[in-house]
Amino acid sequence: MDVNQYLEIFLDETNEHLQSLSDQLMILENEPENADTINEIFRAAHSLKGMAGTMGYKRMQALTHDMENVFSEIRNGKMKVTSQLVDVLFQTLDALEEYKNTIQETSDEGTNDNAALIKALQQCLDEGTGAAAGGASDNAKEAAKDDAKGDGSSENGEQKWRNIALQEHEINAIKEAEEKKMNIYGCTVFIQESCILKAARAFLVFKAVEELGEIIISEPSTQDIEDEKFDFDFSLYIISEEPYDKVEAAILSVSEIDRVVGEKISASDAIESGSKAEDKKEAVEASAEAEQKAKEEKPVEAAPAAAPATPAAAPQGGSNAPAKKQGANKPVVNRTVRVDIEKLDVLMNLVSELIIAKNSLVSYSSGGQAGNNSNFNEQIEYLESVTTNLHESVMKVRMVPIESITNKFPRMIRDLSKKLNKKMELYMSGEDTELDRTVVDEIGDPLMHMLRNSADHGLESTEERIARGKNPTGSIFLDAYQDGNNVVIEVKDDGNGIDVEAVKRKAIERGTITAEQGENMSSKEIIDLLFLPSFSTAKVVSDVSGRGVGLDVVKSKIESLGGDVSVKTKLGEGSTFSIRLPLTLAIIQALMVIVGGETYAISLGSIDTIEDISEQDVKYVEAKEVIHLRGNVIPIVRLHEVLGLEVSERQSDRMIVVIVKKGDQYAGLVVDQLIGQQEIVIKSLGKYINCTSRMISGATILGDGEVALIIDANCLI
C-alpha cells in the first residue's frame, strides 16, 4: 500500500498524540489515581499504536504496544504509578519522538529497536503487577515465570496449543463435543517466516478449518490475529467430525504455511492442560482478585510477554515500509499550518467580495460614466475595506498560538528538576497568545534556553532556598501577553537574581571590560554584558547550561525576528527576562512622514502621540535637547541630523514632534511634515547595503512605485 499520501496526517496526529501523552503523564505523575487521565492516555497510546501499525512502522508499533500494555494495567488498577515508571514512560515518549523525527526526514522509521526500553517496560509491567498484587508471593511469580519459559521452549516444544488458557464456556464446549463423540484436536500452525500477509494466511487457515469443524479457541485471539498481532505461529482447539489428517491437510493446503503440529486429544486432556496453562498465567498475573479480567485480557497481554520476538518481526515488516524516498535526505513533509475552517470561510467571503468590487469597477469603467466621481470613490473605498479585511484574515491564518511550543516546557522543567536536583515548578499563562507561525517556530529554542537559564542559574539549590527562608520549591513563570502590536513573553524566576557585582568581576577577569570601565557602568549596562557571546556566570559548566552560548544566541535570534530582550533583576528576589516580538513580520501600519523632502515610514506600534511644539519649548539638559511634556522630560531627536540631511528652512517656529516609546522610554522625533497612516509591506534592504546605525529597519514600496525607508524608532531611543 502506498502510504506516503497519509504521511503528513500521520505525522500531524502523531505529534498531537505524543503531546497529549506527555501532558497527561505530567498530570498522572501528580495525581496517580486520576481515572480520566489514565483513560485519555490509554486512548492516545492506542491510537498511536494503530496509526503506526497502519503506516507499517513496526518498531514504533511494537514500542507503543508495550507502552499501551503498561497503561492498560494501570487502567485496570493492577499497577501503581510510580515516579520511576513515569521516567520510563517519558523515555518511551522520547524514543517515539525519535521515530517520528526519523520518519519525517526519511519516511522510514530507522533501525533502532529500542529493545532496552521495551525490556524496561516489560520489567515495569512484571514488577508493577507483582507489587500490586501485594500478598502474592514473589516465589510463586518466579516459579511461574520459569515454568512458563520452560514450557515455551523445551517441554512442550512446538505444541504451543497446550499453553492455551481455557475458560469455562470453552471447557463446557469441549465436554459437550466429547459427549457427542466428536474429535477434539489441539494444534499449532506455523507460518513461513517469509510470509508478508500473515493475517491473511491465518484467516485462510481459519476458513479452511471451519469448513471441517469448529474452532473453540485460538491463541492469540481472533482479533489479534486479524490485527497481525502475532508471531509466526498460532494455536487452535478444534472440534471436528473429520479425522485429524484431513484437518491437517486442509490447513497445509493454505500456501505459505510451514507446518502444523497437533494431535487428537481427549476432553480431560484439554481441560487439564488448559487449566494448567491458566494457572501459570494466573501466577504470572499473581492477582487473585483480577482473575476474571485477566482471563479476558490475557491473550493481548501475553502476546509480547510470551514473544519478545515482536521486534524481531519488525525488520521484515520494516523492509516492507516505503523505502523509495530514502535517497532524498530532506524532510519528506512540508511545514504546514492547521487552519480553523472558520478562518478559511472568512477568507473565501472576502475573496468573493473582492471579485464583486472588481466587477463593479469594470462595469463602471465600461459604462462610460467617467464623470461620476463620487461613485468611483465609493467603489475604491469598498475595495479598500475588502483588502484590509483580507489582509487581516490572511494574517490570522498565519497566526498560531504559542501553545505549540510552550507545551513542551512542563516536561522539560520536570526533567531539569530531576537532573539538577532542585525542586521547581513551572507556571504558565497566556499560552493562547497568537504569533506568526514563522515566529513561533523560531522562538522555541530561545525560550528553552531562557527557561534552562532560570532553572540552572536563577533558582538556588533547595538547601539554599530553605536557608534563606524561601519556599523550597522554586517557581518559574512563563507569561505571554499581547501589548499593542507586540507580543511579550516573560520568563520570571523567584531565584537569586543576577549578582551585578559578580558579573562585573567576571567581565573584568575575562578582559571584556577594564576595571575603570566597570566602575562607571550602570547596573543595567553590566547586565547587558550577559548577552555578549561566551559569557557565563555559572561556576561549573553543566550539560544544562553554562557554556556561555546561551543568552547571546537568544538575543541574536530574537533580534533577527525584529524583537528585543530585556532583563529586570533584583538580587535575592529573582529576575525577569522579557522578550518583545512584533505581532507580524510582513505588513505593518505605519505613519508616513516627510523629512527634508524624503519620505520615511515610522511603525505605528512604536508611536505614542504626535505633538505640535513651539521651538521655545525646547530645553537643554546636559547639552541635549529635551521637551517637557505632561510631566515627562523627553529627549528630542532631529531626524535631519541623524539622517544626514540639510536642515530645511522653517517658516514657522512650530515643529511637529512624533513621540515614540520603547517600553517606558520616550523620544521625540522632529519631522517636517506628516502624510498619514498607511499599511506598508516591509521589504529588506538587501544583503550588501550596510546601514551603520541600524536606524533603518527596512524599506517599503509606496503606491507610486517609489521606495520609502522605515525608521526603526527603537534605535533612536
Binding site: E598, L643, K683, Y688, I689, N690, M695, A699, I701, V707
Partner: protein, 155 residues
C-alpha cells in the same frame, strides 16, 4: 577546417556583457546578470557605505544600487540617457545593482583569449579585475564581481 573548429572547441567560452566606464571597457560574466534597467529614481539610504547610492524598486523588490565609479574611486559623472543599472545576482535572493555609464554589447570570449590580470606590487588597491579579454583589437577588463560587491572599502 575541421581540425580548427575542434581546436576551438577545446577552449571553454564565456559570454560577457561589455560596459563602458569613461573610456574603459569592462566585461561582466553574463551568468551573474539578472537584468539591465534604465536609470530611475534612487532612494537614498542614510549612513550606509558611500558607494551605495541607495535602493530602487525593481518590480516590487527593493534592490540596493552601487555606483561603480565611486567604488573604484573615479569621479562621478552626470547621468545620461545611456546610463544603466545592471542587476547582478551572485546568489539567489540577493540582487544588487551597479550603475554603469553605458552597456555596449555581448561578446563571447574563449579561455584562450583571456590573459590573467597583471598586478603591480606597488598598488595597494584591491584588484577588481580577474583577467583581461582580447576581442577584435580591443581590451576588455573582466570584472571580479565578488570583489566589486564585497563590503571592503577601498583604502
Amino acid at each position: 577546417m575541421d581540425e580548427i573548429s575542434l581546436m576551438n572547441n577545446e577552449y571553454d567560452t564565456t559570454q560577457y556583457i561589455v560596459i563602458n566606464i569613461g573610456d574603459e571597457q569592462y566585461g561582466i560574466d553574463i551568468k551573474y546578470v539578472d537584468n539591465i534597467v534604465r536609470m530611475q529614481k534612487i532612494t537614498r539610504v542614510p549612513n550606509c557605505q558611500d558607494y551605495f547610492k541607495g535602493v530602487i524598486n525593481l518590480r516590487g523588490e527593493v534592490v540596493p544600487v552601487m555606483s561603480f565609479r565611486m567604488k573604484v574611486n573615479l569621479p562621478e559623472v552626470e547621468n545620461t540617457n545611456k546610463t544603466r543599472i545592471i542587476i547582478i545576482k551572485l546568489e539567489q535572493n540577493a540582487p544588487v545593482g551597479i550603475i554603469v555609464d553605458a552597456v555596449r554589447e555581448v561578446v563571447t570570449l574563449g579561455d584562450n583569449s583571456i590573459d590573467a590580470a597583471t598586478r603591480s606590487s606597488t598598488n595597494n588597491d584591491p584588484s577588481y579585475i580577474n583577467g583581461v579579454g582580447k576581442y577584435n583589437d580591443t581590451l576588455i577588463s573582466l570584472l571580479d564581481l565578488n570583489v566589486v560587491i564585497s563590503e571592503k572599502e577601498t583604502s
